[in-house]
């Protein structure tokens, strides 16, 4: 076990953690916005899958990673519109419609992949961009400042989402429709419009999360590429108690366990791989169990709003 804790390995492990945390951050921060407005979007994993394929396919055919990222975000946006239509306008049970969205994304991404690509292909993903001077700081530099642009973007998104939710009028409106839609409605806020906006914004971020998997982290697409990461991202929102900083903490904790698991296997420590793969899921359940800060839960979470009801 000595080799596992050498300096170079720890730096590598923490740098891997940054990359692994990236899709979780995009998806979970997006879900934070949606849930703050009162809508649980359980279809994040399906959005990530379809967007991951769209980004991969766009990058493969056009050679442009930025077009890939855009394609991922746009597909996410369209999926968000679909989710809003069913959950906000038609007031469906959100848990069920989210599962429908997941199954659609899972099946559709696999269908498109098999028809349009067929075999395993790879793309050259976003390269690491060392930040001058900062990248040369011992220990911290190689961990924090030698990453690809999508990774930097994910971490910068934490203060941005915090600022949007806490310091802007839009953020106030999103919170008000999540806490008390009837009151928000009575002061002239269009509840449905704010919820559409929040869900679509969150879904576009989930789309970027999927793109970051297929063209930045893994650089390929295959069936069920996410392996449930979208669901873990939803769990992180509960774990982070609907706060961007809490979500960041959860994403880092989760990714460090995952990164440790990967490095332990690479270094050939004798743990059955299935036990190692199981660890993050057990951690998620444990995390959900100890999350006690439910006071922050948006009061109207998971409740469709109908004018004149209650």
């Amino acid at each position: 076990m000595k080799s596992v804790f050498s300096g170079a390995v720890i730096i590598g492990m923490l740098n891997t953690m940054m990359g692994l945390a990236t899709p979780f951050l995009y998806a979970a921060l997006g879900e934070t916005i949606a849930q703050t407005s009162g809508v649980v979007n359980l279809g994040v994993d399906g959005i990530m899958l379809l967007s991951a394929f769209a980004a991969f396919y766009a990058a493969l055919t056009t050679g442009s990673l930025w077009l890939g990222l855009l394609a991922g975000a746009l597909v996410g946006l369209v999926m968000g519109l679909l989710m809003s239509l069913v959950s906000v306008t038609l007031k469906a049970e959100q848990g069920v419609s989210g599962i429908g969205l997941y199954m659609f994304g899972l099946g559709m991404s696999s269908l498109l992949f098999k028809i349009l690509v067929g075999t395993v292909k790879t793309v050259v993903g976003f390269p690491p961009v060392p930040i001058p001077l900062l990248a040369d700081i011992p220990f911290i530099g190689p961990i924090l400042f030698r990453n690809s642009l999508p990774v930097y973007g994910a971490f910068l998104l934490v203060p941005v989402v915090w600022w949007m939710l806490e310091k802007t009028t839009l953020g106030l409106k999103i919170k008000s429709v999540g806490q008390n839609p009837a009151a928000a409605d009575s002061v002239g806020i269009n509840v449905d419009r704010i919820r559409y906006l929040s869900v679509c914004l969150g879904a576009a971020l989930a789309g970027i999360a999927g793109a970051s998997l297929s063209i930045s982290l893994l650089n390929l697409f295959q069936d069920n590429l996410t392996a449930g990461q979208g669901f873990i991202a939803v769990a992180l929102v509960y774990f982070g108690a609907w706060s961007p900083v809490g979500v960041l903490g959860g994403a880092l904790l989760f990714s460090v366990v995952n990164s440790f698991q990967l490095w332990v296997q690479v270094l050939g420590v004798k743990i059955p791989s299935s036990v190692a793969v199981m660890l993050p899921y057990i951690l998620t359940i444990a995390a959900l169990t100890v999350t006690v800060n439910r006071m922050r839960q948006p009061a109207a979470l998971n409740k469709p709003f109908e004018r004149g009801e209650s």
Binding site: G95, S97, G100, F104, G107, S110, I115, A227, P272, Y281
Partner: protein, 371 residues
């Protein structure tokens, strides 16, 4: 004074039944049409694809039996989903619970291989039910005691069960014959013959588990609508606050319904092992845990409505494989269609609710006029 029993039994609201049948059927047709549009865009022939699908599902005697073979686990999983959804808990853990039941249905007959079939088969079913029930009890008790969201915990438990099965198939449960032949296939040894469920039609895979599933559908119907516990479960789902005021322990009944849901999914795992495969192998769940949810929703969360819904989706799954072989349209098309069906059915609940409340309103005014 409550109305006499005969009056209550006779009071089937046929127009409501018609609506419950019509909406899902429209949903399936709508989803198939959207699927056809997708195929046209992808330059595949939707008519040829759907013809192959229908032909695969019901075109041959073997196809029909295969449809029923696939409908069996869907019906069993769906029965559990009915119970859970009726109590307003969402069980996404079918996959993990199927695995729990299948693991038990493999280990138990291998260990008690000397038992006669008449004892071993029911015993295996019971322990498989209990294993699945245990895997449903975990999220149930976590929800009841610690308010852990059951959707998330059941999804995590799916992943844990899958890895646990892989671990056992790589180790203690691996077929000794495979180890001896150095093939190391990730599958268990074949189960003793006396635990194999009898085949209903010779030279097909249709097994007695299908009959068990239909009988259990009737049992679940009686349980939900003719027993006190069933009444309490439905009361919890219809209006948790009212149930709480009337003295029902809401968390306990939600935990109970998740446990029962797990048990039925576990039983689905049992019949797959002792009815179809006769051993445990990777990919055994085939997504039944998710498709069972779709079937339950399409059957309006009613055990009897679930029977035709399961056959429909069993047929879709069988037909999807035929379609993939015959016209090279990937079977994942059906997964996408299933997702659309769920979106449509959950989205149409609003209309059915509004329709019901309008009807209640007119009925009340009608009664006032009579009075």
């Amino acid at each position: 004074m409550p109305p006499p029993r005969a009056a209550r039994v006779a009071a089937v609201d046929w127009s409501r039944v018609a609506l419950n049948v019509a909406l899902p059927v429209v949903g399936v047709v709508f989803a198939l049409l959207l699927g056809a549009v997708m195929l046209v865009i992808l330059k595949a022939n939707p008519l040829a694809a759907y013809a192959a699908l229908v032909n695969g599902a019901v075109g041959t005697r073997f196809g029909i039996t295969q449809t029923l073979v696939k409908a069996t686990p869907l019906l069993l999983v769906g029965l559990g989903i009915c119970i859970a959804f009726r109590a307003n808990v969402i069980n996404i853990g079918g996959e993990g619970q199927i695995i729990a039941g299948a693991l038990m249905a493999t280990w138990f007959p291998l260990f008690f291989h000397a038992w006669p079939g008449w004892l071993l088969i029911p015993a295996t079913m019971i322990v498989g039910f209990l294993a699945g029930g245990f895997w449903g009890f975990i999220p149930g008790i976590l929800k009841a005691r610690l308010n852990v969201n059951e959707i998330l915990s059941t999804i995590m438990l799916n992943a844990i069960a899958l890895q646990f099965m892989n671990l056992l198939l790589q180790g203690p449960l691996m077929d000794p014959a495979g180890v001896a032949a150095r093939t190391f296939l990730a599958q268990s040894a074949q189960l003793p013959h006396q635990v194999w469920l009898p085949r209903l039609v010779p030279r097909t895979l249709l097994h007695a588990g299908a009959i068990v599933a239909v009988l259990l559908a009737v049992v679940v119907y009686v349980f939900l609508w003719r027993t006190t516990i069933g009444y309490d479960i439905r009361a919890v789902g219809l209006n948790p606050d009212a149930a709480r005021y009337s003295g029902i322990n809401v968390p306990t009944f939600q935990a109970l319904s998740l446990t029962l849901a797990g048990g039925f999914a576990g039983l689905a795992g049992v019949v797959e092992v002792i009815g179809v495969q006769h051993r445990l192998l990777e990919g055994l769940t085939s997504g039944y845990g998710f498709t069972g949810i779709v079937a339950a929703l399409l059957g309006s969360l009613h055990p009897i409505g679930l029977i035709p819904a399961s056959v429909l989706f069993g047929g879709l799954l069988v037909g999807a494989d035929t379609m993939q072989r015959a016209v090279q349209v990937p079977s994942s098309l059906v997964d996408a269609i299933l997702g659309l069906v769920v979106l449509f059915v959950s989205g149409s609940a609003l209309w059915s609710r509004r329709w019901a409340s309008r009807r209640r309103a007119t009925e009340q005014t009608g009664q006032e006029e009579v009075a």
